[in-house]
């Protein structure tokens, strides 16, 4: 083990791609070839029309074998496009794929400097020299091959989690579906009728749950939390704590119903956003799954009334901890609705100011005339973008679903409950795609749309027995408009769920919006920097249900691609310690965010050691090492310094 440079001179082949004319229109490729062919170690330099073409690949393979070559440099497009293509070429020629370097002379040269061809040519020479310097020092690296357990832990049994569980089970993967709540369904279960199909959340969840239960390879754990996770891609060892339900079969539905009625405890019902009360033994709704009520032991007085009606109640049940061995962990932990601050548009100062989520529950619970707090509701005003698109606040993003959901709720108010006056006080309606149809329906059915700007928000005040909203309406040249309302609905967006403990256990990277962070929003949208830790749905950012389901399926394909071969190859670009140079100061251990460094005793004293299964190759450990004893393979100190020298020209 060493981080000294390899001084054995390699026979290097350099290929300069014209990319049709994308490169050669601005870079004098023949001049580049002439210059490069004189570089030390270069035994062959060629210009090629398309390096990625089959014929060119075959020619490179033949050159590697016939010359023979020890390393190759291909100067072409961005490595993000063809790194693996050319690694494959190197391998087919018999080279180690890490003895190949791709130099980007298209995106970062010919295209960026098409206005200065002579200087673009000079830059190409410098960049290729740097590539040669890097490949001269490159070591043959071998990806680690490790067995992969054909099972996945899906955290969160909402729409995203259940959709993914069904698909993965059908692909032959064993699924552990872990839900923190005692019932499956997540937020969608609370959602009532939804656009565009008018299906209810309950119906969607019921359909998905029946599909889940048809598959023997899916195990569902409710009231369950991950409390520990060790290992890495292919082999995560997870501990799950399962809270007791205090109820078990057999007991018929009628007995459950009687037991619930007998319970003397009444507490605010979180499922209905505290609009109603529930008992200490409860269901959220009648067709909820698993079809067993749960005892909320935080409020249960152990009076024993329920025991008189149902023999399935077990108040002495204990929590369980189980161990799972999985190849991948799939996070579908969803979102929380934004909770307005006290006084934000009158919230919690006036009882007739509610959130969209509360309205959705009221719509589910209301039959016949629309009454709220014993008052007939005839005028409803929606105030949009509460807790989202905040210029000054934390939530700068658009929560995507709320404009559509609010307008859908307004249509329901008008059609099902005959509410005649509906106002939409908004910052610009975003019912994108097919959802625009709802906006059209709402506009033509008599709803009134008023628009405000961020720094001039509407003001909500009490006036006699109703609420008064004053808004300077952008659509009527900032005319001050006053709206009378019986009910004000704050259209609140999504915020990340508070999962601090889980985030800490799994070391999940968070974005600046505090949702889970993917590696790249476009190119690697469901992967995190923790290999094998996959994210989907609203834990990643605001999405509607259709988008969450799509994201679930994208994540399914990623999980399956990890697990289906039974083994996994890991990138070998990890940290490496030169124990001879290490004087153990512990700074690398502090800098590493992944617990990938440990102190080990040697004859010369303590030194750092890399735990390869944890190392992500980020390199945060390297700048803090005063003796430069740590390197990242593929980005070693010597490689980078020699590249800088080569580019300085």
């Amino acid at each position: 083990m060493t981080n000294e440079p390899n001084f054995i001179e390699k026979r290097i082949g350099v290929y300069i791609c014209q990319c049709g004319s994308n490169i050669s229109d601005y870079v004098d490729v023949e001049k580049v070839r002439e210059e490069i062919s004189r570089e030390k170690g270069v035994s062959l330099a060629k210009v090629t029309m398309f390096a990625c073409a089959d014929s060119a690949q075959k020619e490179i393979v033949a050159d590697i074998q016939n010359e023979p070559l020890d390393a190759i440099v291909i100067a072409s497009c961005s490595p993000k496009l063809h790194l693996n293509t050319f690694r494959g070429v190197a391998e087919r020629g018999g080279l180690n794929p890490y003895n190949y370097v791709q130099v980007n002379i298209r995106e970062q040269d010919s295209w960026a400097h098409s206005d200065k061809p002579a200087q673009a040519t000079l830059k190409a020479i410098h960049l290729i020299r740097a590539g040669i310097a890097k490949v001269s020092l490159s070591e043959a690296l071998t990806p680690m091959t490790i067995p992969a357990e054909n099972s996945v832990a899906i955290v969160g049994a909402g729409v995203t989690g259940m959709r993914a569980a069904i698909e993965l089970a059908d692909l032959g993967v064993n699924v552990h579906l872990i839900e923190r709540e005692h019932f499956v369904g997540g937020r969608v279960a609370q959602w009532g009728k939804m656009s565009m199909t008018n299906q209810t959340g309950e119906e969607i969840i019921t359909e998905l749950y029946h599909e889940v239960k048809k598959r023997e390879s899916i195990r569902v754990y409710t009231g369950a939390d991950i409390i520990a996770s060790k290992g890495s891609i292919g082999n995560f060892n997870i501990q799950v704590k399962i809270q007791p339900r205090y109820v078990e079969p057999p007991c018929d539905p009628e007995s459950f119903k009687n037991a619930i009625e007998a319970c003397p405890v009444e507490v605010y019902d979180e499922f209905n956003f505290n609009l109603t009360k529930r008992k200490a033994i409860f269901f959220n709704y009648h067709s909820e799954f698993p079809a067993l009520p749960v005892v909320d032991m935080a409020t249960c007085t152990r009076c024993g009334e329920c025991l008189k009606y149902c023999h399935g109640i077990r108040l002495d049940q204990q929590e369980q901890v189980i161990d799972l061995h999985v190849g991948s962990t799939f996070l579908a932990t969803g979102f929380n609705p934004y909770e307005p601050k006290t006084g934000e548009f009158g919230y919690q100062e006036h009882p007739d100011v509610i959130t969209l989520q509360q309205l959705k529950r009221i719509l589910e619970l209301t039959k016949g005339e629309f009454r709220f707090r014993n008052k007939k509701i005839e005028r409803v005003a929606f105030i949009y973008c509460v807790g989202s698109r905040q210029v000054e606040g934390e939530n700068k993003y658009c929560a995507r679903y709320c404009c559509t959901s609010a307008i859908h709720a307004a249509l329901q108010l008008r059609k099902d409950l005959n509410v005649p006056f509906i106002y939409h006080i908004n910052k610009g309606i975003r019912t994108y795609g097919k959802q625009e149809i709802l906006y059209e329906q709402s506009s033509t059915s008599g709803d009134i749309f008023l628009q405000f700007v961020e720094d001039d928000p509407p003001v909500v005040e009490t006036f006699n027995d109703h609420l008064k909203i004053t808004v300077n309406d952008l659509l009527t040249a900032n005319m001050e408009v006053t709206v009378k309302a019986d009910l004000v609905v704050l259209v609140t967006g999504m915020v990340p769920r508070l999962n601090q403990e889980l985030n800490s256990i799994l070391k999940i990277p968070l974005g600046k919006d505090h949702f889970y962070n993917e590696i790249h929003p476009k190119l690697r949208p469901v992967e995190t920097v923790i290999d094998g830790l996959i994210i989907a749905g609203c834990c990643q950012g605001p999405r509607n249900i259709a988008e969450s389901a799509s994201s679930a399926l994208a994540a399914v394909s990623k999980v399956y691609s990890i697990l289906n071969h039974g083994e996994i190859q890991l990138e070998p670009t990890l940290a490496i310690v030169n124990p001879g140079a290490c004087e153990w100061c512990g700074q690398c251990l502090v800098a590493c965010p992944f617990d990938a460094i440990e102190r080990v005793e040697t004859e010369k004293g303590p030194v750092a050691r890399i735990i390869e299964s944890n190392c992500k190759g980020c390199g945060m450990c390297t700048p803090v090492c005063q003796t430069e004893a740590i390197d990242i393979k593929g980005y070693t100190n010597h490689e980078v310094r020699s590249m800088i020298e080569a580019m300085s020209g």
């Binding site: 993000k80 960026a112 400097h113 968070l510 800098a591 945060m620 700048p623 100190n637």
Partner: protein, 136 residues
């Protein structure tokens, strides 16, 4: 008299800022051709000694195209990269190199225009100051 723009070494990051450099090219946005990039895994993996080596090799400026809050390796990247800059500033002062010759800015994967503007601005600032005076 050398009329080329000053040479700038950019440390770009594999997953975040280097895609922005690629995007700048894709959009045919022009910046000085004396800007050269070395790709690293994360901006908090840049060694101060590399930055100093770049100055010794004749680069007039060094720019760290940092991951910022987009860093896939976690939020600590911001403070760690800032610490690297702080440590390097100390070394630069010892060598008599103006600390303004090292710049850092968060460059997201689609921040092509921001990157191009930063490069034009930085090259202009460095050009005004030439020739650089510092101990080798």
């Amino acid at each position: 008299m050398d009329k080329d723009p000053p040479k700038i070494l950019v440390f770009s990051t594999e997953k975040i800022s280097d895609p922005a450099l690629d995007l700048a090219g894709l959009m045919k946005l022009h910046y000085p051709p004396t800007v050269h990039a070395v790709v690293v895994p994360c901006s908090s993996s840049v060694r101060p000694s590399w930055i100093m080596h770049a100055f010794e090799c004749g680069f007039a400026g060094v720019f760290i195209a940092a991951d910022g809050s987009d860093c896939p390796y976690g939020e600590t990247c911001i403070e760690k990269t800032a610490k690297i800059v702080e440590m390097t500033h100390v070394m630069m002062r010892e060598k008599g190199i103006p600390t303004e010759n090292l710049k850092m800015a968060a460059v997201c994967s689609v921040c092509a225009e921001l990157f191009v503007n930063q490069m034009k601005l930085f090259a202009g600032e460095l050009a005004d100051k030439r020739p650089m005076q510092y101990e080798q």
